[in-house]
Symmetry: C2
């Protein structure tokens, strides 16, 4: 894989992709003592960089190949990327998704005009099904990362980075199958350091770099579900093994924290995989990047709203902006409204409240009430507690 191949891919796909913004973040630059710019592939068509590789592959196919169609297996961004690319290339696309795929992602894939087949309990089973289908139909199977045309397409992210920020010193990129990292390595000069970021629950990169050969191991469920492969692809490995400088590993709490930080401070919605490179900068790479000109690749933004909701709640509780406690009320009319009045006077909002009369250890005329409050922040919590206690309430904090 050479820079020329990436440039050729860029010529093909340029009319159909967004040259995504490279935003300098003042907040993150200050927090990290570095010049931090975010490559916003979450704002790319279909919500992730995957569409670049898919377009590169499909637009390189002959008219006869396009007529026979394409098949791909994916539960996520590759599905939408291939579906969109097929609509541009005038090819019929069939996407095999695992039976557990989120309905929102199935709908999005169909929205680009692809046929969706649900088959298999997991990605491996869906891939097996897709391969058989492609053979039967003499259609082209489009692999998500182990394909030179796909890697060249992902490398166009690197071309845009150096075009917009020629002085970049370090690029931090999330790694699943390694296609994006390999493509970027092919596209940028050798003096630019490329560092891979992985979830601890799908971290084959570091053992592979240490062993000097690809180590496979099945991933565990992770917020960075887009990175959950069983290992680096063979084609990507040819570039990564010699030129990738380092593998940085982050945990689930770090990924969740990075998602919340991006949401609150940069106003960007980023999925778990997309936030992994920033999580690495905030954690294991902090000293490596200090004082440097750094690009953090936000690879995608397709996060499930249910997942985002859980992350917000976690983050709010950690920041002291939600306060949960229990108290005991006498079981007579007006007791709950009196409690609510004290909370309101303290400037807090009740999010949820639960009565439980049957709790063991309480008197017959007593009720345990658990309350969840929105607060104005951590310094507000002791004031709320003080006011409640001043009015005679026991406050049993929940933690």
């Amino acid at each position: 894989m050479s820079e020329a191949e990436v440039r050729a891919a860029y010529e093909r796909i340029r009319p159909y992709v967004i040259h995504t913004p490279l935003e300098r973040s003042r907040t993150l630059s200050r927090m990290l003592g570095a010049d931090i710019r975010l490559k916003c592939e979450n704002l790319q068509r279909t919500g992730s960089f995957k569409v670049r590789g898919a377009l590169s592959r499909l637009l390189g196919m002959s008219a006869a190949e396009r007529r026979r169609g394409v098949v791909a297996a994916s539960a996520g961004n590759h599905a939408q990327g291939v579906a969109y690319a097929a609509s541009i290339a005038g090819a019929k696309a069939t996407i095999v998704m695992p039976e557990s795929a989120a309905i929102a992602k199935i709908e999005a894939t169909r929205g680009y005009g692809a046929a969706v087949v649900l088959a298999g309990a997991d990605y491996a089973a869906a891939f097996h099904h897709a391969a058989a289908l492609a053979r039967r139909r003499r259609a082209t199977l489009v692999h998500a990362f182990d394909d030179d045309a796909v890697i060249a397409g992902q490398g166009t992210v690197g071309l845009e980075i150096v075009e917009d920020f020629p002085d970049v010193e370090i690029i931090v990129v999330p790694v699943g199958g390694g296609g994006l990292a390999a493509g970027i390595l092919a596209a940028v000069a050798a003096r630019v350091r490329v560092i891979g970021a992985q979830s601890a629950r799908a971290s084959t990169l570091r053992p592979s770099l240490r062993a000097g050969r690809r180590i496979a191991s099945p991933p565990s469920p992770t917020l960075a579900d887009g990175l959950a492969t069983s290992g680096i692809g063979a084609r990507a490995w040819r570039l990564l093994r010699w030129r990738l400088r380092r593998a940085a590993i982050v945990g689930e709490a770090e990924i969740a924290g990075a998602i919340l930080l991006l949401l609150e401070r940069t106003k960007l919605v980023v999925e778990g995989a997309g936030a992994t490179a920033l999580a690495a900068c905030l954690g294991p790479l902090r000293r490596t990047i200090a004082g440097r000109r750094v690009v953090v690749v936000l690879s995608g933004g397709n996060i499930d709203v249910n997942v985002l909701d859980r992350i917000l709640n976690l983050g709010l509780a950690e920041q002291g902006r939600v306060f949960r406690f229990a108290t005991v009320l006498s079981d007579r009319p007006g007791a709950l409204s009196a409690l609510s009045a004290v909370v309101a006077a303290a400037g807090a909002n009740i999010k949820t409240i639960h009565h439980d009369r049957g709790r063991v250890g309480l008197g017959v005329l007593e009720t345990l009430v658990t309350v969840e409050l929105e607060t104005r922040g951590p310094r507000h919590v002791p004031e709320i507690v003080r006011r409640l206690r001043a009015r005679g309430y026991r406050v049993i904090a929940d933690d």
Copy 2:
């Protein structure tokens, strides 16, 4: 106010603001049958367009004025805009915020180096305090919208829009005090239609346009808190009364829906005021914009995470992706775990579960359980209900 004044303001502020992206949205364009581009002022420094007006005002001040400092009243984006602008202009800034201001916004304002004074129960009281403070110190009071230099600064949003999209036909812009709309009107050619969008809970624009004079009325609490003024400013009114084409009014549910749509489909975090123009396009302006080249101004992204959390939950419930129901269990060991197993087999996740032994009308050995599930979407719900009923559970839906 003339285009030349806006251009002069742009020359002053250009080095310190982001030329924000104007992103074409395929999804919204398809939904609305129009060419829809989003002006992303949520990605602006300090998270909103307000910084443009503040910089225009402060960078136009003399060295002597800067030494005496500036004072402003705001609970939100103007506070951060003035604080940031003062740090650029080398002026001391004092921001008066109402006592109820969110701690996150106080911290952000202090983060730009401003002194924060908490005074007054609401914005009007804080403004009164700020005006007195400015007089006492001989400092400059920077109004959030009723100021020509501020309006000229906000108008630079319009210059960027026509630079990036010369063929624009309609610009839809949220209106509070009217500074942004007035500035944009001054900046763009008369052939471009500018339409104002307001929350129904702070909607003085339509009655004012009808009466031909400014009508003031106190705002009610709204998700679009950045638009909650008691009326249009006198200086903005001079432009709006002759040149604004229309006022579109939207409700709270429409604003919440627009926030969720932007989050899920365009990966952008937008506050209530910032989503109001899109809500208007999806509602009252749908026929007006059909087939047109439209810019929707996303004015800011500073939404409280607690508020965002509530909006996500509302949206999830509306989309059938959260399902709440109650059922009755016999009060014996293992009953809850059996219920959980049925739910898991149906492919749903339990979000919350509550036992209530004391409910009137239940047998002594029965417990009412209320359950909140994450589903894969609306078509998943009947399947879950069917499986529960097949195993003998009563399912009492909550709505």
